[in-house]
Symmetry: C2
Subunit: 390 residues, 2 copies
């Protein structure tokens, strides 16, 4: 069931497979759960990159406190959602001239990623007569431990090294721009609450030091997100309570530094990842030398991460089921493969599933983030999936 609609009925309503379906009720629950834990501790932002489907962004925008974009096209989606411009921020190490001007003209906050970028923004804002709201993305001097993907610490393409930040802030102030604060983000897809707490401790300490060194008020401190979701056997949801408890302590400890500072948790995958499924139909079932191959009309070209080919070192199966046979017991061990002429097109390796027939609907769970847009949809020129918000 996707928000009360059976997947079999939904497939008819969509009119084709493969498709992605995103469940409004699950997204709402995710946000409510976060509000319960972080309601008076932090603002919640949605990082559009996780899933930029316009209808989904329009749905989420009024439920959160802001949107974060990573490109000009994402900015357009964010503005179309009606989110107030002062609640939109733009990060990314390679913003081009057009994108910088889009950001200035719309009045959103630009997270500066390099000193040269700041110079370009100062030039553009002076040429065009825009004030310019800027925050500084800081490349911290610590790492997020046990993270799926590290994005801070050491040499990085992201942000400005912590020791260069005071000079950059002085340049912002000297140019008369509206300094908004810091963005300190260290990594993503983390399931370990202790690692997140430690990162938050380090972020607060660094932000406090930078505040003293820069001698400015910090209107907003974006502490990133990094909350992961479980994909594979043995993974469990991250515990929010200890993270919230730790954040509360940090706010008490640093109350004089950040009394008037808006703390922002920026989450992408965590808001939408478990709200999405990817559905494909069985085209063929074949035996080859003792193994069963179930060929479906969806594959790596639609859902690259589920095929295990997007940056993963060891391929693991995403959770899978037969939508029209969820009450049936597993009977067979099968391989679920896509329609492409490549052995990389594998959605399930030796999965236990009920007896499968042609036209059965195969569900890939945990597909709400980094699915549709993160896949090479023209690879072998097969039909693209449809996306629906239910």
């Amino acid at each position: 069931m996707i928000n009360g609609v059976a997947i079999t009925q939904l497939a008819q309503r969509v009119g084709q497979t493969p498709f992605y379906a995103y469940d409004r009720s699950v997204i709402r629950q995710n946000i409510e759960q976060l509000r319960q834990h972080f309601g008076d501790l932090a603002h919640l932002h949605y990082a559009i990159k996780a899933n930029p489907m316009p209808a989904l962004v329009d749905f989420i925008a009024p439920l959160v406190d802001g949107l974060d974009v990573a490109s000009g096209r994402e900015l357009t989606v964010a503005l179309n959602s009606g989110a107030p411009t002062h609640q939109i921020s733009f990060a990314g190490p390679g913003k081009n001239e057009t994108e910088l001007l889009m950001a200035l003209a719309s009045g959103i906050t630009i997270n500066i990623e390099s000193e040269r970028e700041l110079e370009r923004i100062i030039d553009l804002s002076q040429q065009q007569g825009y004030l310019g709201n800027v925050a500084v993305r800081v490349n911290p001097d610590f790492e997020l431990k046990t993270s799926g993907m590290k994005m801070g610490g050491g040499a990085q393409q992201f942000g400005i090294d912590a020791d260069r930040v005071p000079a950059v802030v002085q340049k912002i102030l000297a140019a008369g721009m509206n300094f908004q604060g810091f963005h300190i983000f260290t990594g993503s897809q983390n399931l370990n609450a202790n690692a997140i707490c430690e990162a938050h401790n380090n972020i607060y300490q660094l932000a406090s030091e930078l505040k003293k060194q820069c001698d400015v008020e910090i209107a907003r401190l974006n502490i990133g997100g990094g909350l992961g979701i479980p994909y594979f056997p043995g993974e469990t949801p991250i515990e929010l309570a200890p993270i919230a408890e730790n954040l509360k302590q940090l706010q008490a400890q640093y109350q004089y530094d950040f009394e008037n500072t808006e703390i922002v948790l920026e989450l992408g995958r965590y808001l939408v990842g478990n709200a999405g499924v990817f559905i494909s139909s069985v085209l063929d079932i074949k035996e080859s030398r003792g193994e069963t191959f179930v060929v479906v009309d969806g594959g790596l070209h639609h859902h690259l991460a589920a095929s295990g080919n997007f940056g993963q070192v060891i391929r693991k199966n995403y959770p899978l089921a037969v939508a029209n046979k969820v009450d049936c017991k597993p009977e067979n061990t099968v391989n679920i493969v896509g329609p492409l002429c490549t052995p990389l097109d594998l959605l399930g390796n030796k999965v236990e599933l009920p007896q499968i027939e042609v036209n059965d609907l195969i569900v890939v769970y945990q597909s709400g983030a980094y699915g549709y847009t993160a896949s090479p949809r023209d690879f072998l020129s097969h039909p693209a999936p449809v996306e629906v918000l239910v």
Copy 2:
């Protein structure tokens, strides 16, 4: 230079970066070189999946003896090129009903991948009154050694296990369909001529046995391709002479079996891979903790394979250069990164290049195959690259 046009001039002619450029003269040379070696030994087919850009397919179609497609949309491109329908074949383990009917209605050859698929084709051809040209894709009982990607041998989603082939051929003949022969393909991206020769030996032997078991004439024997191109340091081009020599011996050895058989070499990457470059512009250059990061406007969303995230186990750099400084000596060790907010967006890790400035053009070589269409172009909603044939 791309077919006589300097890349700097080409960038102006294209009007944007990033872009892919494919060089007609290199494609023509590749084909001429193959003709020199295999001219009277085998027909040459182009596997469109490597690069389905319509202008490129239109250019290649008259230079080769046939086209191989992997989807309905590729079939449309092939038909649009004007290639004769009897020289087009369609392989793929997950052909849907629409695609099978497209294939029957256009009169091309369908490579059957399963017994169930054959039943569907027989039903459809009888319902619609089409004769149906079919060949059998055989999953052989041997593997291609030292191959980048194995696609035959063992349990596979591709083709019909060799021991089931005689029964399948009988079914084809009994249904009154036009049996075209066999397609035996074992793997791709192989740089070892001996491995290809051994595969060819095995293919001829298996085809000969199957011919005897089935007691039919083989109009066409597609022996696949598998010829790799060098991407990384230490890799060298595959030697064609020993492969041609071996093929000549095989044709003598099996002359009674395949006297009237058209032997087909099906090549994708080998025809176009070295003919393409991917060009992006430098947006920013930044130092972080002792390393230099060159941020360009092209990245993994445009060229997933070059970022090392498409099925590669160990990331290696594709060959890189600064287009407007090809005559300058390497001076610095830099990282070339794309504009995305992910550390996966890396085109060059610690590359020695001349002094780089903003707006310099970075070239990724060996980008003519599995680039544009094999990349998640909507990932983070950045502008798509343009493709040009020069």
